[in-house]
Amino acid sequence: MINLIWMAMLIIGIVVAAVNGRMSEVNAAIFESAEDGVGICFGLISILVFWLGIMKIAEKSGLLAKLSQLFKPLMTWLFPDVPKDHPAMGYILSNTIANLFGLGNAATPMGIKAMEQLKKLNRDRPEASRSMITLLALNTTGLTLVPTTVIAIRMKYGSQAPTEIVGTTLIATTCATIAAIIIDRFFYYRRVRKGKK
């Protein structure tokens, strides 16, 4: 899918430029955009180094583990099919906390391990279980406390207040997450009703 979109943007762009007579602008855009790409990534270094450094302290001091215990009651409610002390629950908690603190690279392996455990609980069947869909729903909404990448890009383009969008982002992503939980339950009950018929 992404290959198609990428290719289409370039080809449509070149064809439209030919029609509009804007080929020299397109030439300029190619090299300026490439330079921008490097510039943005270099801009990301500052905030990523700082944030991941701070988070390493939170991880080593056991703060993240402690926080995940706080979420346990909520998670046992969200995942009623997972036994409380099953390893799957541990991975689900780590995955959620890592996402919350913007540790995408740590969240993904935890999420995959959680999926493996959930698959075992589902007796290795090839279809997604209820808990698998819930875990996925939680991950697709990307609930994050601090949108570090967005802040870095706002800084690069000279924002007066790069962090002013933290509040609006948090509210929007919380809405999406609550919606995901409700929609997930709705579809679950719909499946149950259909199964009984």
């Binding site: 270094i45 869909i133 969008i165 509040g167 609006t168 997930d184 579809f187 499946r191």
Partner: protein
């Protein structure tokens, strides 16, 4: 609204403060641990370069050719009535499909309209409101070999839609209408 503004300013320093105090109490060598974790951030930023660069060139060509303006002008009349800036629609569409694609479009919007413009703030909020649904599904289900994904895509995309609508509403409330 004052609360949301205060939240934006206070959240990050409070998180940092709490982590450092807790780390010190637990006798973690804070500075050395910070440096260790920071190295990871460097590698991540560098490894994104080819992904983002490729996307930005495609978006840059699409915009410079005039195709982006044609697309935006075509959908503008429908969206203006409901108060949604047409400029953010491509971002909203790409967001569930490609993370770097969305990152590229967001950077492009911020560069063109300014980070503190209405569109810049909305683009920033949209980018953080949801994650890349298709990518998450592919990675998580692909890794463990789940073939029948059930309602996962429907749940993910509907939640994305809620996130997009919530972004538009909350940005309009906090930063005023366009």
């Amino acid at each position: 609204m004052a609360f949301i503004t205060a939240l934006s300013i206070w959240l990050i320093p409070i998180i940092i403060g709490l982590i450092l105090v807790h780390g010190t109490i637990k006798r973690v060598p804070t500075y050395e641990t910070f440096v260790e974790g920071g190295k990871e951030g460097f590698n991540i930023a560098i490894s994104i370069i080819p992904f983002l660069l490729g996307m930005l060139v495609a978006i840059g060509v699409f915009r410079a050719s005039g195709a982006m303006d044609m697309l935006i002008n075509a959908i503008k009349p429908f969206l203006q009535a409901v108060g949604i800036p047409a400029e953010v629609v491509p971002l909203a569409i790409i967001r569930p499909i490609s993370g770097t694609g969305a990152l590229g479009l967001m950077s492009d919007l911020i560069r063109v309209h300014g980070p503190d413009s209405y569109i810049g703030r909305l683009a920033s909020t949209l980018q953080g409101a949801t994650d890349t649904t298709f990518y998450v599904i592919t990675v998580y289900f692909g890794a463990v070999g789940v073939k029948k994904i059930g309602d996962a895509i429907k749940v993910g995309l509907l939640a994305d839609l809620v996130g997009i609508i919530a972004s538009i509403v909350i940005v309009a409330i906090v930063f005023g209408t366009m």
